[in-house]
Assembly symmetry: C2
Homo-oligomer: 110 residues x 2
């Protein structure tokens, strides 16, 4: 089963199940993984707030977890989800709405 | 531009540009990001070895970087790549070749 690093964390990539779009990346500790598996909705560990955080707890934009993939060394996860709304707090569908172009960040059309 | 955490790292998700499959997740420091941008091939920072690591440096399975996406708070990247071969050291196309089923890890068919 998944292994956590010295800080008790692992990286979790959230991917829209149907389109494959990467929506966000966050950290999970054992508590967040257990809460995610129990509820079927994505929970993470906020490093800045030092606490369990359910995605969508204030916005309502929860992430229904369809499948959890584990990598070869078991220290990263991919959550395949169905998103109830924009995953990003900016209102964008994905947090990855910009790309690096030379020394600038360019906003993508989507 | 991207921001690194207290350890000088950020999470980098590697996604096959054409299929959207997530191939691997690794860490980058400023050196790895600079080497990636300069060479057009993915470089990471190995936490266990404490050094710059070019993906495919021994296997030849390099990752040609087509695009680098940045998330809203600029502490995670998605590298859209064309993979020269299996991304995983196990020979699997993706490091995420298993999923959690109850208390077990199940190997996917791909």
């Amino acid at each position: 089963m998944p292994k956590f690093d010295a800080a008790g964390l692992l990286s979790a990539v959230v991917q829209e199940a149907t389109t494959g779009e990467v929506l966000m990346v966050a950290f999970m500790d054992a508590e967040a993984l257990a809460a995610t598996r129990k509820s079927g909705e994505a929970h993470f560990h906020s490093r800045s707030r030092g606490r369990l955080w359910k995605k969508g707890e204030t916005s309502g934009n929860v992430l229904k977890v369809e499948e959890i993939l584990v990598d070869c060394d078991q220290d990263a996860l991919v959550l395949k989800v169905t998103a109830a709304g924009p995953a990003c707090h900016t209102g964008a569908r994905s947090c990855f709405y910009r790309w690096i172009d030379g020394d600038s960040l360019v906003r993508s059309g989507s």
